[in-house]
């Protein structure tokens, strides 16, 4: 009889523990923090700089900055920066187009490639004259759309782009590699970089 009571007691304790664990798991926030990482390695000097910014923090800070060309999360760009190109019309065309290579330039000193692949805008630049500098940029189209989501033609919505980045998956956004330096910008859920 006492043994039976003990077994029932142990079962009750186990059931309560399981219930508490389940409640704790359900109460835990499902969202994990997302980070923008910037890593610069200079092998010639033996230097490395690693910056990790929580995207939530960046999204909260940007609208509060009103300095220079940055105001309320928007950055104003001069007409000359676009060189007369209608960027919105160009992006509309790219958005509606299937995956494709849009620009391929091969010169003596430089190769440039602009393409759309798997919902990303991809830019590759290879500078053959300058230590073989290689630049790779991969930006999700959603982020590009957010960047140009403002009403004004000469503005970029940086805050909206950051919010769009938060919703994007883990991705390497920019890599720059030359003979001595390596720059990498990426987003993921790890707080301590690589």
């Amino acid at each position: 009889m006492r043994k039976g009571m003990r077994v029932i007691g142990v079962c009750c304790v186990l059931a309560l523990t399981m219930r508490n664990l389940a409640l704790t798991a359900m109460a835990a926030p499902a969202t994990t923090e997302r980070y923008l990482h910037v890593k610069v390695d200079d092998s010639s000097k033996g230097e490395s700089v690693n910056v990790n910014v929580p995207l939530a923090m960046a999204a909260a800070i940007l609208p509060t900055v009103n300095h220079g060309s940055l105001h309320n999360g928007h950055v104003t760009i001069g007409e000359t920066d676009f060189n007369g190109v209608d960027v919105r019309a160009m992006l509309d065309a790219i958005r509606n187009a299937p995956d494709n290579e849009f620009v391929t330039v091969k010169e003596k000193d430089q190769d440039v490639r602009v393409a759309k692949l798997n919902g990303n805008l991809i830019v590759h630049v290879l500078d053959k004259s300058k230590d073989g500098e290689k630049v790779d940029v991969t930006i999700p189209m959603k982020v590009v759309d957010a960047l140009f989501s403002t009403a004004k033609d000469n503005e970029l919505d940086i805050a909206a782009a950051i919010r769009a980045l938060s919703d994007a998956g883990d991705a390497v956004l920019v890599t720059v590699q030359d003979a001595t330096e390596h720059v990498r910008i990426w987003i993921d859920s790890h707080s301590a970089g690589e």
């Binding site: 923090e33 980070y35 000097k45 033996g46 230097e47 490395s48 700089v49 690693n50 910056v51 990790n52 910014v53 929580p54 939530a56 923090m57 909260a60 800070i61 509060t64 900055v65 009103n66 707080s191 301590a192 970089g193």
Partner: protein, 147 residues
């Protein structure tokens, strides 16, 4: 005898509550080790609440210049500190050079800065809440009364 015991208990309780209150915002920790030319150790561990309390004793006119400069940036500072406090622990900045290492992290409720170079090692840890109240007090000082 019983009355004496009750008084002693009251005093001890009040002292304990006072210590608890003073330490409620955490502790500021500063550790400096100078390696050259002689080895010197400096270690300060102080309740973080003392810093904003001390700020009350600094005349406003002494803070006027700092207040004028910091005021436009207060919304940004508030947003950054709020997000930092609410977020997970993170290594914010890490710089490595030959012989030098700088690390800025958010650990628990504190911002921690560690600098190591051939001459000295510096470790500073300050609770975010104390940083917030100190910055708010600097910003609240009237810039009109600056020297």
């Amino acid at each position: 005898m019983v009355l004496l015991g009750k008084v002693a208990l009251g005093i001890a309780g009040t002292a304990l509550a006072g210590v608890g209150l003073i330490c409620s915002e955490g502790m500021i920790e500063v550790k400096v080790v100078e390696k050259q030319p002689e080895v010197h150790h400096v270690y300060v561990l102080a309740p973080a609440m003392l810093v904003p309390m001390t700020m009350h004793f600094i005349p406003s006119r002494k803070l006027g210049n700092a207040a004028a400069e910091i005021k436009p940036w207060m919304p940004t500072i508030r947003a950054a500190l709020e997000q930092l406090r609410a977020g997970e622990d993170v290594t914010l900045v890490e710089v490595r050079e030959p012989g030098q290492h700088v690390l800025v992290t958010k650990s628990g409720g504190s911002v921690v800065v560690d600098v190591t170079d051939p001459d000295e090692t510096v470790h500073v840890s300050a609770p975010i809440r104390a940083i917030e109240s100190t910055v708010e007090q600097v910003a609240a000082a009237s810039p009109d009364t600056q020297d």
